[in-house]
């Protein structure tokens, strides 16, 4: 494979109407350079339909899809290259490993028309790179979830595709395993620079992988840019939920303090007042505030000597251990979700019903329009 092919960007503009469940229109236009581009958005936003169109499994009503000089689809020129000729790798959420073939046979499936020796070397290399060489003779039903995901990735990448599409390929794995696979994928991508479109709902995967993020909602691209820009200033409520903002609170603007760049708001119908970044709003307006559970601090006493401006008194409603994390639900008049470590739970002697203080940095409170 020539390097001039590997340094090509995907350029796509696609319009696709679906009538299977109401009328849904996908209408997007974007460019994905080599490297990882993350696609986020609520389910039903059209992410999977978009990938299906690019792969050639679904035919767009109109548009053009090209990997720089090579046109895959062009409605005006009546070009529609069939999927088997597109040289695009696609890892489905279901992985779609061939159940009757071994790991090695699965991985070698896409390699043909090349010398047997060459074929063996490439299969060997990719089995090693994705740490599944020891499973070569196992069937998919005999290996674990993480091993299946590695096999599916290896099977797609061994063919040296021009573009890689990943539809939530790491769903259901624990964080440690996920991180290891993400690391292997990243290492592979450093060596072979091709565009990768990666659909995920996981904030961790966005942070670990993302060079660019495209946010979709209702069939459109609503935001496009670096992960920080797209995700950390959510402008749409549904997107905020999809991007992992566990707390989404409605509030009323009480006071604008323009010199400080902040405003005071009251949360819901409660007596809680907090300071949030200034926005284009007037006193009395209703606003939505998104806060990540991981950005909330807990304190056993009223905190002082802190730069954080917001401290709310509350009571712990529940504590739930999930992996290396504790999820605390706290009632301060409105309910908050906060993530703390098990160490913090012990140090603060957190328990159900205990009085607690929540501490929020002003800039951890994101305004959703």
């Amino acid at each position: 494979m020539g390097s001039e092919v590997n340094s090509s960007a995907l350029v796509a503009s696609i319009r696709k109407e679906r009538r299977d469940a109401g009328t849904f229109v996908l209408d997007v236009s974007f460019e994905a350079p080599p490297g990882i581009t993350i696609l986020v958005g609520p389910s039903g936003a059209g992410k999977s339909t978009l990938l299906d169109c690019i792969a050639g499994l679904v035919r767009p009503n109109a548009g053009r899809i090209a990997i720089v000089e090579s046109v895959l689809f062009d409605s005006a020129m009546q070009i529609d290259v069939p999927p088997q000729k597109r040289r695009i790798a696609y890892v489905f959420q279901s992985l779609a490993l061939f159940p009757h073939l071994t790991v090695e046979q699965n991985v070698a499936y896409g390699l043909r028309d090349i010398a047997e020796q060459d074929r063996r070397t490439r299969v060997e290399e990719i089995l090693e790179a994705f740490r599944i060489a020891n499973l070569r003779n196992q069937k998919p039903s005999q290996i674990s979830g993480g091993e299946k995901q590695r096999t599916a990735l290896a099977r797609s990448l061994v063919t040296e595709p021009r573009l890689l599409l990943l539809d939530e390929p790491l769903t259901g794995l624990d964080a440690e395993l996920k991180a290891a696979i993400v690391e292997d994928l990243r290492a592979w991508n450093t060596a072979k620079r091709i565009p990768i479109l990666y659909v995920t709902h996981s904030r961790e995967e966005v942070d670990a992988l993302g060079e660019r993020v495209i946010a979709m909602d209702n069939g459109r691209v609503v935001s496009h840019g670096a992960p920080m820009d797209v995700l950390d200033a959510p402008r749409r409520k549904r997107l905020a939920q999809a991007a992992g903002f566990e707390n989404l609170l409605s509030a009323t603007v009480l006071e604008l303090r323009e010199p400080d760049g902040v405003m005071r708001v009251r949360l819901g119908e409660s007596a809680c007042e907090i300071e949030v970044p200034l926005a284009h709003a007037s006193v009395g307006d209703r606003v939505q505030i998104a806060i990540r559970a991981g950005d909330i601090l807990l304190a056993s006493q009223r905190p002082h000597g802190l730069s954080a401006r917001n401290a709310l008194k509350g009571k712990i409603l529940s504590l739930e251990q999930r992996g290396a994390m504790c999820i605390a639900r706290v009632d301060c008049g409105v309910a908050f979700v906060a993530h703390v470590t098990p160490g913090a739970v012990r140090a603060l002697e957190l328990a159900m019903g205990k009085q607690i203080w929540l501490v929020l940095k002003t800039h951890s409170c994101h305004l959703v329009n």
């Binding site: 999927p83 088997q84 597109r86 695009i88 489905f92 279901s94 009757h100 499936y109 896409g110 039903s141």
Partner: protein, 226 residues
């Protein structure tokens, strides 16, 4: 040649032919999105509901010296088609068609479409996807089709009588032989043949159900991957 071996020969020919022509038809019926597909589906299922004598009657007309098939045959080979073994094979192929095609359609349709998409994206054309993915995963359906069309042909009576007549060693199959013996009050011989057919039918059905039971599926996929 006795009636039993004639029946076996007929059934084997028909099963083999049906497997060959049944696969492309079943493939098309399983994967086509054509709106008029139901028409072909109905034609394929027709022998299931039609009295064998009706099917045999039209087969006889078609194969007769003035029928289209008969004329063609005479022009090609210099002899007629009715009351010959070949004629019997042709009529039986039509009669047993649904028994081969329906298990094939069911097993092709049961293959996860995502696997077919995955195969295409890995560069495989339709033929390679069929050979490497659909066929191995449909093996129980293929075996069922083969066995059912064999067994169904083995026991047919009406079509054979209409098209083949009753020529010893040429078209006298075992079911006709049984009928003949009953007519001439040879109950003992009739009973022997009838019992044999009963035993074969039971064994065949046991085999078909065993092959299609989920508990046997792992063994099948192991075998298929060899």
């Amino acid at each position: 040649m006795n009636s039993l071996s004639l029946s076996f020969e007929l059934a084997a020919c028909v099963a083999a032919i049906l497997l060959l022509i049944g696969m492309p038809v079943a493939y098309w019926l399983a994967f086509s999105n054509w709106r008029g597909k139901f028409l072909l589906e109905s034609v394929v299922a027709l022998p299931l509901v039609l009295p064998p004598t009706v099917l045999g009657f039209y087969a006889l007309l078609a194969m007769g010296p003035r029928g289209p098939l008969g004329k063609l045959w005479i022009a090609l080979f210099g002899h007629g088609l009715a009351f010959t073994f070949t004629g019997l094979v042709l009529a039986s192929v039509v009669y047993s068609f649904p028994f081969a095609v329906q298990p094939l359609i069911a097993s092709f349709e049961a293959v996860d479409r995502k696997l077919l998409d995955a195969s295409a994206l890995l560069g495989a054309g339709k033929w390679r996807t069929f050979r490497r993915i659909i066929l191995p995963l449909s093996l129980p359906g293929v075996v069922t089709a083969l066995v059912l069309s064999f067994a169904h042909t083995l026991g047919e009576f009406g079509v054979v009588l209409m098209v083949g007549g009753n020529l010893a060693g040429v078209t006298r199959t075992v079911s006709i032989d049984i009928y003949d013996r009953v007519q001439s009050l040879e109950y003992g011989e009739a009973n022997q043949l009838a019992l044999l057919l009963l035993a074969i039918a039971f064994a065949v059905l046991c085999f078909v159900y065993a092959v299609n039971r989920r508990v046997w599926a792992p063994a099948w996929t192991r075998w298929a991957a060899k």
